[in-house]
Symmetry: C2
Subunit: 355 residues, 2 copies
């Protein structure tokens, strides 16, 4: 017998006794749509307020098999893009009566161990913000009927949904823009090489360069990390033929690159070298940086993520199948002042390949 000291929390039985009704009646008054007489409901509510009663969500979850909890994995909180994502997704979840269980994954790893522990909580859905998952976990989620949505990352797991920007197109656009600006020694600063974002941005960038007949002048790896990016910039600029333009695979690295270029190497941007980033995070728009950047609209990514996730959850509740989606959110190159412009192009707007 599991006898425990009372916690001081009233249960539905206490309320039932207080209101002079059955425990079922109490449960029904707290279950939207359940059939209870108005008068009964009122009596119960009164008793509940008197005792400070609130239904135990844990007990409810056990029987409904719905925890109303969505887990979210993140790993790059120093990149402004992710706090924005968290805030938006947290709001979306709250609006729909769900809660967000946040956990941090080591960068580049799959976070399997922590993921397993999170799954023990019978979560209703899983959001992976730039983190990957092993196929074993993906299979487990699929079996358990837990929808998973990857944001800003892609994998070849067919059972999960993916929300991304137009990474390849973004890279390609940047290449054309830089060529149009008259640059000839164009370099690429890669993020973590194993990530789909880096692969796609780089592939698009190389394609764009090829289209305009320019070689990739140089390449270094910044691992989506500020310190690594700074080091990569030093190496790049120390070469005999330094680049005259640098495309950074995200703004987080572009910010570090700009700092290194200007404050440490004493170069002028864009007079001595142009810099272009990706994401268009808040700081890219700060006048001290004004980074030309291929924007990934966070708002649209948030909407697409929550719509996909909750559509999948609703399908799971209804017992219907759900076809995983891959949504690509179109972006646009936001022109600021960190890169030299082609004649006739002005900063302050966006630039597309149609230009």
């Amino acid at each position: 017998m599991a006898r425990r000291p009372r916690t001081g929390k009233a249960t539905s039985i206490d309320v039932a006794r207080e209101a002079g009704v059955s425990q079922s009646a109490v449960s029904r008054t707290f279950t939207p749509g359940a059939s209870v007489a108005k008068a009964t409901k009122a009596r119960v509510m009164e008793a509940a307020n008197r005792l400070g009663y609130r239904p135990n969500a844990i007990a409810r979850s056990l029987i409904t098999r719905r925890s109303q909890i969505v887990a979210m994995a993140v790993s790059y909180l120093d990149n402004q893009f992710y706090p924005e994502l968290i805030q938006g997704l947290s709001n979306q979840a709250q609006e729909r009566g769900y809660h967000l269980l946040l956990f941090t994954a080591g960068e580049g790893e799959t976070a399997d161990v922590e993921l397993m522990r999170v799954l023990d909580y019978q979560i209703d859905g899983l959001i992976l913000a730039s983190v990957s998952l092993s196929s074993a976990i993906a299979e487990r989620c699929h079996q358990a009927g837990i929808p998973v949505v990857m944001v800003n990352r892609v994998s070849d797991t067919p059972t999960v949904s993916k929300i991304t920007g137009t990474n390849a197109e973004g890279g390609r656009t940047v290449a054309h823009f830089l060529a149009r600006g008259g640059h000839t020694r164009i370099a690429y600063l890669a993020g973590i090489e194993a990530t789909s974002t880096n692969r796609d941005r780089e592939a698009g960038f190389r394609l764009g360069l090829a289209e305009v007949g320019l070689p990739l002048h140089a390449r270094a790896v910044g691992n989506y990390d500020a310190a690594d990016a700074a080091q990569a910039v030093r190496t790049l600029m120390a070469s005999a033929e330094p680049p005259d333009a640098l495309f950074c695979a995200n703004d987080h690295m572009a910010l570090a690159a700009l700092d290194t270029l200007r404050a440490e190497l004493g170069l002028r941007v864009p007079e001595d070298i142009s810099v272009v980033g990706f994401d268009s995070v808040g700081a890219a728009n700060w006048p001290a940086y004004a980074i030309t950047s291929f924007a990934q609209p966070v708002g649209a990514m948030i909407s697409a993520t929550s719509e996909t996730l909750f559509a999948a959850i609703d399908a799971a509740i209804a017992g219907e199948p759900f076809e995983p989606r891959h949504v690509e959110i179109p972006g646009a190159l936001v022109v600021r002042t960190s890169a030299r412009l082609a004649p006739g192009v002005t900063d302050g707007g966006t630039w597309t390949l149609a230009n």
Copy 2:
């Protein structure tokens, strides 16, 4: 073969059948410290692995009355200080086998409704990062034995613990530093006026000014918001006698102030006006800003928060009383280049009242 309802998830009963033991034996092999024979444990583990069994944390929580979940409320995710806090606290929780339920509170509000809903999950602890709580909720948590820790905010609720920086001392230090730098028209840019951080920083600042015999030349309110701060700076600088120094109640506003001053008003910092911030967030250290700022050591605040919270949780588990703590984490003024220096003082270090 065991016939289970098609949730796809094996239960301890399935494992028991598969291993040929009782359900209790299964439970015991997954309960650290429970008495099970080695051989039994091995048999159970094998069966569990075969079926992909993991204990249902919800069911466990219901009976142990411990959810292993800690809730955290935040509201200013665009202020770099908070993502750092979240990441640190999330890691701390994970290390101790707890999970973080994150929820966002509207700025300046008490978030009572959402807090109530979160409490339904029988959370083991509550962290409030710069958000306040009503005394009704505080009382509720106290009754239910849920420790609450406020970070970077203080209230007169005696049952909750508080972790703060040395806000008053910080404000006072800034006043002396600015006076020493030869400024005479010193202004204050306030955060949200109802917050304890603003009250304490301002009080300390005013005290410091009084100590050096200087008046508070001007004052405006930025509400810890970038746009409000920018607007406040415009107003301040439009006056007939604009300030020659501006102390911003946090770096988030100091960054916006610097942008407005330089890019919009065409002023030089610190030649035309000195700017000092509070927090020393990451961006304050970026060379494009290099903001002199009173640092609140995030790492220390994270440690103090998690130590306090888990000490309280452990006490609750042991049935022991826990005396709420107020920990003040000492800070220091980090001298960079956004404020004019007294002769002999150089940037790159810290400055204290002892100087």
